[in-house]
Symmetry: C2
Subunit: 347 residues, 2 copies
């Protein structure tokens, strides 16, 4: 029987609640589909930091490298450890070290879910650059503390980085409707975004079957709200993708429904799957977090591992659950009840 080695990083807060739920669903799915999942769980988190002085051990990245995939809950608990320490000590280093340069986030309404928009028929796949750009971490402060102080933050875009994420976007568009939206702000950021637009133009010659359109980030944010059904695959930089995918989560009814995959497309290192939501300390361990985003992220993991039938089965079970109204209304159902419904829909 085929066995996949999975590293579980439940992390902080509701990350633990939803990872447990997702894991129950994944194990049952594996059994029913003739493969097995071999999990090793690591307690790396803000609590771990308080005991050990770091978010993960020095060899944490090396430990994770041998796995087939990583399932992560959520990282951060600002009252215990500042985000600048926790995120930069666990989540962000994994994305970078394993060259998970494509962060994929699907945005559509699950059956039975009412979003904040009047519009309902949309199905958007956002692809966010995940390793450089506006979140490169380069910058500094001069004349600190004086009236004359200046802070600079430098966005760094490499040709390799931009080309690979755009290529990934073109491939996804080719596999879906053939429509790709590329998001920049080249009328105001003439170095980084013009560079991105140029590479988009050049690559489009290699993908004559894909119709690519460039949008400014401001216009795209408005479009996601005014005409979400006009969009299919959307590719954007680290910051722009970050903003658009929270907006995507909003239009799909909330963060409880927003799944994501941090993909290393070359498979030179494990990919990581995580709900878009954070650790939500205020509702941690109350048993009321919606596990659907985490379960959906688990389905994306199965898909990535090549277990397409199993992935489809999980998605169908999520949809059967929300279609019955379970887990469909934020705050209404308990984590356990939603998980039980998905498990029973698995058959």
């Amino acid at each position: 029987m085929k066995t996949y080695k999975i590293a579980l990083l439940p992390g902080d807060g509701i990350g633990r609640d939803v990872t447990a739920a997702a894991w129950a669903v994944l194990e049952k799915t594996a059994a029913a589909n003739g493969f097995s999942l071999d999990a090793t769980s690591y307690p790396w988190s803000c609590d771990y930091y308080l005991e050990n002085g770091s978010m993960m051990p020095a060899d944490g990245i090396e430990t994770l490298r041998s796995f087939d995939a990583i399932l992560l809950g959520a990282v951060g608990w600002p009252r215990k450890v500042p985000d600048s320490v926790s995120l930069h000590g666990l989540l962000l280093p994994i994305r970078k070290a394993f060259v998970q340069y494509a962060n994929i986030r699907p945005h559509r309404l699950l059956p039975g879910v009412q979003g904040p928009l009047r519009a309902a028929g949309f199905d958007i796949l956002c692809i966010r650059e995940n390793t450089e750009g506006e979140y490169s971490g380069a910058g500094g402060r001069v004349h600190q503390g004086t009236d004359n102080e200046v802070a600079v933050e430098t966005s760094i875009f490499t040709r390799t980085g931009v080309e690979r994420i755009l290529r990934f976007g073109f491939e996804q568009a080719r596999a879906r409707s053939g429509k790709l939206a590329s998001v920049t702000k080249s009328n105001a950021q003439k170095y980084s975004m013009v560079f991105w637009d140029e590479i988009t133009q050049r690559l489009s010659a290699e993908y004559p079957d894909v119709e690519v359109t460039s949008y400014h980030i401001d216009a795209m944010a408005a479009r996601m709200v005014m005409a979400p059904d006009s969009l299919d695959v959307v590719v954007a930089s680290n910051l722009f993708g970050d903003i658009l995918t929270d907006l995507g989560a909003a239009i799909q009814g909330g963060l409880g429904f927003a799944a994501s995959a941090n993909i290393n497309p070359d498979r030179s290192a494990p990919s990581m799957f995580e709900p878009v939501h954070g650790s939500a300390p205020d509702i941690a361990h109350l048993g009321i977090a919606n596990p659907i985003a985490a379960i959906w992220s688990g389905a994306m993991m199965l898909e990535h591992l090549g277990e397409k039938a199993a992935a489809a089965r999980v998605m169908a079970s999520i949809e059967a659950t929300t279609a019955r109204g379970i887990g469909a209304i934020p705050g209404k159902d308990k984590t356990d009840a939603i998980t039980a419904s998905v498990l029973s829909a698995l058959g």
Copy 2:
């Protein structure tokens, strides 16, 4: 009789259509309110560029400096002149030269207008930093044309620039509900955005009556869609404000309703009033552009000039018009019909 000297810059495309409409409303309002408006119109635009090789004359800024205010339509016609030339040759230099550091944009539903959200009861005032930050224009490209190419774009935030826009935000919040939302991304941009957060914290001691909350830009974008009625005054950097105000325009029903003011709060130079929408070349001069955003911007100009009763009269006339369904549905009514309705509502 008090006379205000106004520079009219209709600019390109529908900018001309809506400026004419707004001007008709403003002139009638002035007459009814006992003051007069003395307009000088300048043809600076992409057409002007094609004839003269620049978007405005070399002494354009000096020419504008003597006016009490500037009313602008829209700038840009990409098929004639690239945006990087037209915007950087007319719109952006005015904002910077006249230190119009506060770009104010109100977002609420006019009566009779149905937005894309189910939610209706919101009234948000976005304040965007308008002179520096992510649109500083600093950056460059290295190893150009090679596989090794790197593009950098540097955001520059000065203490003066951040402090003055935040102070402006605190003042606006004080004059409204006492609630201020400050938007950053300090968990991922640790120089610029941490600097902004620090200054926010420090200023909050001077405004004990204002309750200030910091949001990350991604969470704020989601909040504007999920819970717009939880927001009042929102202050953000140049880029974040740009994105949030297009999103604001979307939730208020579209760009046809989105007004804006580029304010020099010290009154050391004229302020400029312009609809958020662009020049929309595809519908230019067809008589179908919605003039409401431009008329509303004109009302903001009267307010800034101290003519509060006249400004209120214009707003009431806009509201009476959309309440009757005129101009309320994008694309339905002609520019002239909407303008005529506002004029007749003025009484």
